[in-house]
Every structure is written in structure tokens, then in C-alpha cells.
């Protein structure tokens, strides 16, 4: 019998459109899979009770001949950073436990309008601060490839849900790599769109000049189909770009069919070409470059001399913005309220609430951000970091004069063990060395699986970056590379443990 959880969203779309399966059947298959494996994986914080009803209404609409979009009836998981009016939205934090927002985030509203079926909310590092999902207040998510290992972060729940066939599609958010690094270590595809390409309205803000919402999937085409639905201008987000975007699905399909990559200049960023990276990551990266060459692409080496300052700049800008954004958790309008023993002033209640409601990494970054913004240090830290941001943008601009896309490994290692880095913040921060530059410059980035590392049999990820607004280029070239890699390695998730 056909296992509906093993199909891509594009394949499910065809079966649904041809009425060979119903959305209720597809949704039930995924709910069954969640019931069977999520006790071990813990990708979900909340499973929707309304999923089957939503699926039934799509089936009814299809029965009535109502015109439906390409992914209508396909289930989707939603990172818990996005507000949903009918499910709790906690951002992985105790301070928002049980909070049900009064409205949907724009990407969620667009999913619903397109007929997709929300399956539930996925686990994440608290307020998206982390690279392992270990900082979730609700316990870690486990990597479906090895349950003793991390699924990446902050969006480990979305990546693990898709890798464990609990959902064909998920939404994530990427501030410094939180879509792409989990993609790399779980063998899934993740895209951080151009800054402003997808509305951030209703996405609980971490660092507003860096955050982007994007797709988490098992194929490049599925990511493009999801991006087409959630992207585009939203007047409710003042950083939302007013651009008219091309069809990303059309770009992906073009890439799938492309006979060659002749004329494409692929820039290998020297500074990200595996300095001290795991040997198997470096090996798979160089093999992928050979595949690109054999398909006719021209490989050029480019230098981005300021990328080595990216992590430092990021860990000043992000905490500064986060400490401001998280000021709204003040025990007044939503979430937890904890009074100190014997009561206290509103200020004391606020401090006791934040002490009880925030976890260790959130406290660390809020204190660090407060320091970076405090009188006497502002210019030396936050100001300098913003100057580095300019230098990194200039590096990108120079590199993109010589190359159409820039490439690197998507993460320096395969998945590490749960507990290995949780008490060493600096070691944890270096997991995002390859992904942070794109956030600082606002350019789009994609991670796609490039095979298993020979030494540990775990997934490795390839990163593509394009100039701002050129997301379609990622889908076109990414889909060609995915096909070439598939011819060599097969679909790598077919090799993952079955779990149930």
C-alpha cells in the first residue's frame, strides 16, 4: 500500500488534484505517523485538533468544483514562533506557556487561505536562540537519524518533523541559520528568503533586522511551492518588500529539467571552504563542486575577508535587538506573571516573572544585549558591529560581481550529541559560522542535502546564496544540483532510520 507520508508535497498535490486520495486520508496518515514516532522525536509542541476538519472542508470544496491552489489539502507543520489563533504559540518559552494569540501570523493566514492543513506547532530553541533545540523550555527535539543527537536549531522541530516524515512541509524562521543549519544536519531542504521577502507579521520577533520566515521541506520544488504561497508583500510588515516576485516553483521546475549549468558562475567562498570543518563535510562539499563542474558550471574562488567578523558582529546585533524585542514580556499584556514572595511593585513583579519565565540562553543574550546597548559601550560594540555589517555587505557585492551564486557547506559538522555543547555558549555560536553572513546582508540562502559524511553516516548540507531579490536563482540552480546529487546518492532520507 502507498505510504502517503513518504511522498513529496508536489506528489501529494497531483494525487489530490486527480482525486486519487483525499486530504482527510493524507492528513490522517501524517497524524498517525506523529502518534507513532513523535514520542521519540518530540518535533511537535502541539498537535492540532482541527486538522481533520480543515482537511474535510478542503475535500468538500474540491468536490464542489471550487478552484483550489496547488498545495490545497497538503498538511504543513508550523514553527511555534508563528502566531496561530487556534493553537498555543509559545516560541519554546515558559513565559508564553499556553498563550493563544488573537490573530494568525501572515504566513499562517496565507497557508490557510491556500487550503493547506496545519498539523501543529513545532519545537524550537526558546525565542529562536540556539543551534540545537536544547534550549526549548519543553525539552529537546531529537534527530531522526540518531535520537541521541541534536536536530539543529533553532528550528529543530520543523526540520525533524519533515525528516521523520511527520509532515511533508514546515515553516521555519531564520535569524542566523535557524532554517538552514537544521536542514543540513537532518538531510532536509531549508530556505531563508531575501530579507523582506516573506512577511514577519505575527512572527514573534527575535532580531528584527535579521529574522526571515521560510520553507522547510524534503525537496527544492516543495520549498519553492511553499515559498510561492507565503511570500510577497504584506502592508502589515513595514519591512516587507513591495516587489513582484516570479514563480519560484517555475524556477525549480526549470532547474529540474535543465540539461546543463553552462554559463553559471559558482563562487566558492574561500573563507567558508571548510576551515577546520569536519572531514566528511569538506569531502561531500568538494564532490558537489565536481558535480557542478561536470554539469558545465564555472567554479570561481571568491574571497570575503570580513566574513571572519560575522559571528562577532552577529552576537552583538542579535542580543541588542533581542533585549529590546523581549522587553514586551513584562507580565502585563500576555503570558506568565509571577509575584515575588509578599507581593511587590510592578517592577519587582516584572523582574520575578522574567527570572521564572526565561531560560538560561535567553537570559544570557538579554544581559549581553543590554550591555552592548548601555551608555559608554554602545559605540564600541553595537556601533562597530553595524559597521562590520556594511563591510560584509560590500564583500557580498564584490563576490557577486564575479559569481551568480556563492556556495559553502551549510554547517561545519554533522549533528552533534545532545548535551555536548549546551554549557559552552561560544562553541554553540560557531555552529552558524556559515549561515550568519547571509542574514547580516539580507541575501537569500538555501541548504540542501549533499550526502552522508563517510565517518559517521550522518547528513551534510550544501549552501547556496544569491544576491538580494534573486531567490529564484537559488531554486533553479538548487533543483539542478539536487537532481545531480540524487543521481549519485539517491534520496538520502530513504536511508534514515524508520523509527516506528
Amino acid at each position: 500500500m502507498l505510504d502517503l507520508t513518504r511522498l513529496s508535497a508536489a506528489e501529494l498535490s497531483e494525487l489530490l488534484t486527480d482525486r486519487e486520495v483525499s486530504s482527510v486520508e493524507v492528513t490522517q496518515a501524517h497524524l498517525d505517523r506523529i502518534a507513532a514516532v513523535d514520542g521519540e522525536v518530540h518535533a511537535f509542541l502541539h498537535v492540532s485538533e482541527a486538522a481533520l476538519a480543515a482537511a474535510a472542508s478542503i475535500d468538500a470544496a474540491r468536490g464542489d468544483g471550487t478552484p483550489l491552489g496547488p498545495l490545497a489539502g497538503v498538511p504543513v507543520a508550523i514553527k511555534d514562533v508563528l502566531c496561530t489563533h487556534d493553537m498555543p504559540s509559545t516560541a519554546g518559552s515558559r513565559i508564553l506557556e499556553g498563550w493563544v494569540p488573537p490573530y494568525d501570523a501572515t504566513p499562517v493566514a496565507r497557508l490557510r487561505a491556500a487550503g493547506l492543513v496545519p498539523l501543529g506547532k513545532t519545537n524550537m530553541d526558546e525565542f529562536a536562540m540556539g543551534s540545537s533545540t536544547e534550549y526549548s523550555a519543553y525539552g529537546p527535539t531529537r534527530n531522526p537519524w540518531d535520537l541521541d543527537r541534536i536536530p539543529g536549531g533553532s528550528g529543530g522541530g520543523s526540520a525533524a518533523a519533515v525528516a521523520a516524515f511527520e509532515a511533508p512541509l514546515a515553516l521555519g524562521s531564520d535569524t542566523g541559520g535557524s532554517i538552514r543549519q537544521p536542514g543540513a544536519v537532518t538531510g532536509t531542504v531549508g530556505v531563508k528568503p531575501t530579507y523582506g521577502g516573506v512577511s514577519r507579521y505575527g512572527a514573534i520577533a527575535l532580531a528584527s533586522s535579521l529574522d526571515q520566515v521560510g520553507p522547510v521541506t524534503r525537496t527544492v520544488l516543495d520549498a519553492a511551492l511553499l515559498h510561492d504561497i507565503v511570500g510577497g508583500h504584506d502592508p502589515r510588515d513595514s519591512t516587507s518588500l513591495p516587489d513582484a516576485w516570479p514563480s519560484f516553483a517555475a524556477a525549480a521546475r526549470e532547474g529540474i529539467l535543465a540539461e546543463s549549468l553552462r554559463g553559471v558562475r559558482v563562487g566558492v567562498v574561500k573563507e567558508l571552504d571548510s576551515p577546520g570543518f569536519q572531514a566528511g563535510v569538506t569531502q561531500r562539499f568538494h564532490e558537489a563542486l565536481e558535480l557542478l563542474t561536470s554539469a558545465g558550471a564555472e567554479i570561481v574562488e571568491v574571497s570575503a575577508p570580513h566574513f571572519e567578523y560575522a559571528v562577532a558582529a552577529y552576537y552583538l546585533i542579535l542580543p541588542a535587538e533581542a533585549s529590546s524585542n523581549l522587553a514586551k514580556f513584562d507580565s502585563v499584556r500576555f503570558g506568565l506573571r509571577v509575584a515575588p514572595p509578599g507581593g511587590g511593585t510592578v517592577e519587582q513583579v516584572m523582574a520575578a516573572t522574567r527570572e521564572a519565565g526565561f531560560g538560561p540562553e535567553v537570559k544570557r543574550r538579554v544581559i549581553l544585549g543590554t550591555y552592548a546597548l548601555s551608555a559608554g559601550y554602545y559605540d564600541a560594540y553595537y556601533g562597530s558591529a553595524q559597521q562590520v555589517r556594511t563591510l560584509i555587505q560590500r564583500d557580498f557585492a564584490a563576490a557577486f560581481e564575479r559569481a551568480d551564486v556563492l556556495v559553502s557547506p551549510a554547517a561545519p559538522t554533522t549533528a552533534f550529541r545532545i548535551g555536548e555543547k549546551v554549557d559552552d555558549p561560544l562553541a554553540m555560536y560557531l555552529n552558524d559560522v556559515t549561515t550568519i553572513p547571509a542574514n547580516l546582508a539580507g541575501v537569500p540562502g538555501m541548504a540542501l542535502p549533499m550526502g552522508l559524511a563517510p565517518e559517521d553516516g550522518l547528513p551534510t548540507g550544501f549552501q547556496l546564496m544569491a544576491p538580494a531579490r534573486q531567490d529564484a536563482r537559488l531554486y533553479r540552480i538548487g533543483a539542478t544540483l539536487e537532481r545531480l546529487l540524487g543521481e549519485r546518492h539517491g534520496a538520502i532520507l530513504d536511508g534514515a532510520p524508520v523509527l516506528a
Partner: protein, 99 residues
Amino acid sequence: MSEITRETVEHLAELARIALSAEEIETLTGQLDAIVESVAKVAEVATPDVPATSHPIAMANVTRPDVPGATLTPEEALAGAPESDGSRFVVSAILGEEQ
């Protein structure tokens, strides 16, 4: 270089309104010192001739027509509050006894 002292962290915690425990202050003092030392390298290349970038893709004066749209009802706005009296958020005393 040990720039971050226990007193610094205590002061920052007060500014950030987090009632950290003595143990947390201890741990954070050491960790913050290491982090600050590591991120301070931004100063190496941030010379005065380099302008600052606050947003990756600059947009200026994003406005919308000043017309009323859909808004939350008072009930919806107050639904998630820890304490409300039906039309307002309820907070504890703003001023302490000595004030």
C-alpha cells in the same frame, strides 16, 4: 582582560528587569566576560570611514493611508492577560512604599 565583574552583571540584570539568582550571576559573569572578549574583535575593522548599516535592505518612510481598519476587540486584546478587569490590564503598584 576582565571587563565584566559581578557588579556589572547585577547592574545589567536590574536594567533588563530579571531577578537573577546569586548562582546565575556567578555563572553569567564568567560567560559574559568570555563572550565579550570574543565579540570585541569587531573593533579591529570598524574604522571611522565605514558607515553603519542598521537594516540589510533599507526602506524609508513606509506609511499606509490613515484609514481605520479591523482591530482587536477589548475582549480579544485582554484575553491573554494575566489579570484584567474586563476593559483594562491590571498591574500591581507602580510606586514602592518609599516613593
